[in-house]
Amino acid sequence: MKQIYKIILLVNLVLAVFAVNAQEFYRSVKPVTTEGNSLNYKLSGRQYYFTSVLRGSVNFNDLWSVGSVILENDDRYDSVSLMLNIFTEDLIWFNNRTGSLIVLDKYAIKEFILDTENSEKMLFRKIYNDKILKGEHYFNVFYEGEIKLLGWHRVTEVSTSLYRDFYGYLRDKEYVRQVNYFIMFPNNDIVKINGSKKSFVNLFPEQKKTVRQIFRKNDIYLVEKNRNEILRATKLIESEFFSK
């Protein structure tokens, strides 16, 4: 009987040594398959951990969007499940082959496209700017011509009246979503516009009159600061001052 215990102990020890040396670079519940083979540079990132109890959403899209990711080396991945956390500005990839939530490495991403619920394709591009928003940020490209109309989606924590969260704890903060608009000129200068008529007029201090004139002629008043109006205004500015 004692000998059996010895054998069992020995087998356990051998298995333990194997377990130390054995290294599997995948989750044992979902072993890797040839499905993930690609000659492209692989999508890389780290585990996504963000959990939030505050009211509101931190995501640009709360449902997974099927989109595309284009890397800095122009390798492209299509039909990938993406979500954009605009509080931490992380692009999250749900790898359905491994069941992982991954924050994609920002340094490797050039741009990505999110297919929204109403079948609209939203293009986001990583742009570096050291004047207004320091560092690299994902900008939503609303219009791309000689000049570009960019949007920077943000979620911020703001104080609010007390409420109970999902777990019943009292909270006095909530997430509020906003979008800041920017115009990118052909020389890659970026100027923030708040969507008002004045902000467009101020883009051209020496031609304020002309800008006002073309806005008036085209019935652009920018009162409500809605995106369609801002888009129209941008296109008019482009055709007036930047068309070749």
Binding site: T34, G45, D105
Partner: protein, 555 residues
């Protein structure tokens, strides 16, 4: 259906399939190769030009492989050249030990190598071994279905004289009629000593059917890199190992890393983008049951159907030419070397700012601390967040997980100069003198479908990969990637006040994208005597290859 109807239908079907077959052949890429000489002495460098064309709407390969074979299809060497559009250039260093005889030069793309209907336009080169000047006969390709380039009669080549002395300047002018200007896509001019035995090979090629490569499973147009594939087998049984992870790394200051899961046949593929020179490929297999595996690279040479050969006896003047040229080369090698690129040259541009494991959470420089004798001490004193335990049952390493503020319960990915390490004993002897820096990542990292519970990347100062060759589980291959680009243009010059003989066999090389009505160039003759051929190879607007030439004599 009467007999006539059946006859007509059969004929129509035949015509239909004939058109289909013709179109499939037509859709293939056509690659032409133009070496600068028809002969070489072992140790010489052969420069070549490449012209590729395919269907206008299709993608054409930009990486062309040029291979040197014996007539009996014995592979000697292969180089891969990155072309620009329809044209490219490169060079082949003829091995010093190559025996005298006729050799084949073939230019092909990966697409062609995988195609069953592709045809390669082979060129022939006479190689004379520099230690064997006595040659009485050579095995030559029989003169069958040879594709002789069409002679161009529009370019007129003129020289100031017909006969020159050694080391004399030759002025060449060539005129192109006004009506032909703009009709040439490319003109290559080469001037060199004429070999009476092999000269004909420069203005012709032999189309040969390719034996398709059945090992490759990937259909790819190589645009900026090289695809390499291999297979994984069980070392004992020789059976293919499917579903294993093959890790591929190239050690560097920012290491390259990739992986591939083997298919049912144990095959794996990797694509090396913009890699130039000779790479050290490090491959390791991760299998479910710690299987002892053998990693082998697939044959990357082109296989062609055999060609007919015939023995050719050399005439007296031909034997004398060989004798003189071999002696000249022998002296030339005494004064000059023949390696035009350092054999260990390798360059691969970084695609991203950080290595594949991302931005390190922390980077430690052990040199900022006092000397520590081994990695255990280093991890204990310097590597905050790295838990190194040396117990009886082996060494274990665990790392912090900043993601959920715990410690990973699995071994991290350990890298030594970018090469994954599975045996922690390899890290144990490293001391502060050996280590340049240590990168650590305290997050669960993902690379494609792989997951790493933290990353510990150690960079040594001398970056030696000798330890790799002593580990039977690691396969190390030296792999020729893209050839380093060098300018092929050359003009033989006279060096004043020197006693070193000028024994250049090629005296001038230049390519013209645009030619004018009147064009001139000059070069100096070398100390070799005999006929010198001024040869123009032209690619016209219809992708037709033309040639014209003029002989002068050096006495």
């Amino acid at each position: 259906m009467n007999k006539l109807d059946r006859y007509i239908i059969t004929k129509l079907l035949f015509l239909f399939f004939a058109i289909l077959a013709f179109n499939s052949v037509k859709a293939q890429e056509q690659i032409h190769l133009f070496p600068d000489k028809s002969f070489a002495v072992s140790g010489d460098t052969i420069w070549f030009q490449i012209f590729i064309y395919g269907e206008p709407q299709g993608e054409i390969s930009q990486v062309i492989h040029v291979q040197l074979d014996g007539l009996e299809n014995k592979h000697i060497l292969k180089v891969s050249v990155l072309c620009q559009g329809a044209f490219g250039e490169g060079y082949i260093s003829v091995p010093d030990s190559l025996a005298s005889g006729v050799y084949k030069l073939s230019a092909f793309s990966l697409q062609q190598n995988n195609s069953s209907s592709a045809v390669v336009n082979q060129k022939f080169i006479h190689v004379y071994n520099r230690f064997n000047s006595e040659l009485n006969s050579v095995q030559s390709p029989a003169d069958i279905s040879k594709n002789v380039y069409k002679q161009d009669n529009t370019i007129e080549i003129k020289t100031d004289r017909e006969n020159y002395k050694r080391g004399e300047n030759v002025q060449v002018s060539f005129t192109v009629p006004q009506t032909e200007i703009g009709k040439y896509k490319k003109v290559w001019v080469t001037v060199g000593i004429s070999d009476p035995i092999s000269e004909q090979y420069l203005t012709s090629s032999l189309p040969v059917q390719i034996v398709p490569n059945t090992e490759s499973t990937v259909s790819l147009v190589e645009k900026d890199g090289i695809l390499f594939s291999g297979h994984l087998t069980d070392r004992k049984s020789g059976e293919p190992v499917p579903g294993a992870i093959v890790l591929f790394s190239i050690p560097d200051s920012v290491p390259f890393f990739d992986y591939c899961v083997t298919d049912d046949k144990g095959l794996f593929n990797f694509y090396l983008r913009n890699a130039v020179g000779t790479a050290d490929l490090i491959l390791q297999a991760v299998t479910k049951n710690q299987q002892d595996c053998l990693i082998e690279l697939n044959n990357y040479f082109l296989e062609t159907k055999d060609i007919l050969t015939t023995e050719k006896l050399l005439a007296f003047n031909e034997s004398r030419f060989v004798d003189e040229i071999v002696k000249a080369s022998y002296f030339e090698k005494l004064f000059t070397g023949y390696n035009i690129v350092a054999p260990d040259y390798f360059f691969m541009p970084r695609q991203f700012d950080y290595p594949f494991y991302g931005e390190p959470t922390r980077t430690f420089d052990p040199n900022l601390f006092f000397d520590l004798p081994d990695f255990q001490e280093i991890s204990r004193e310097i590597l905050v967040g790295v838990q190194y335990r040396d117990r009886k049952d082996g060494i274990t390493i665990r790392m912090l997980n900043n993601g959920n503020e715990t410690i990973f319960d699995k071994e991290p990915l350990k890298l030594l100069d970018g090469i994954p390490v599975f045996n922690n004993e390899k890290l144990k002897p490293l001391n502060t003198e050996d280590i340049l820096k240590v990168d650590v990542v305290f997050f669960e990292r993902f690379f494609g479908d792989l997951t790493f519970p933290g990353v510990l990347s150690v960079y040594t100062k001398n970056r030696s990969i000798d330890w790799v060759d002593s580990d039977p589980q690691i396969a190390h291959f030296e792999f020729n990637c893209l050839q380093p680009a060098l300018n092929s243009e050359f003009k033989n010059e006279r060096v004043p006040n020197t006693h070193i003989p000028n024994l250049n066999k090629v005296l001038f090389r230049r390519s013209y994208d645009v030619v004018d009505t009147n064009n001139t160039f000059s070069f100096y003759t070398s100390d070799l005597t005999g006929n010198v051929n001024i040869r123009f190879i032209i690619v016209d607007e219809n992708n037709q290859i033309l040639f014209c030439q003029k002989l002068i004599s050096v006495e």
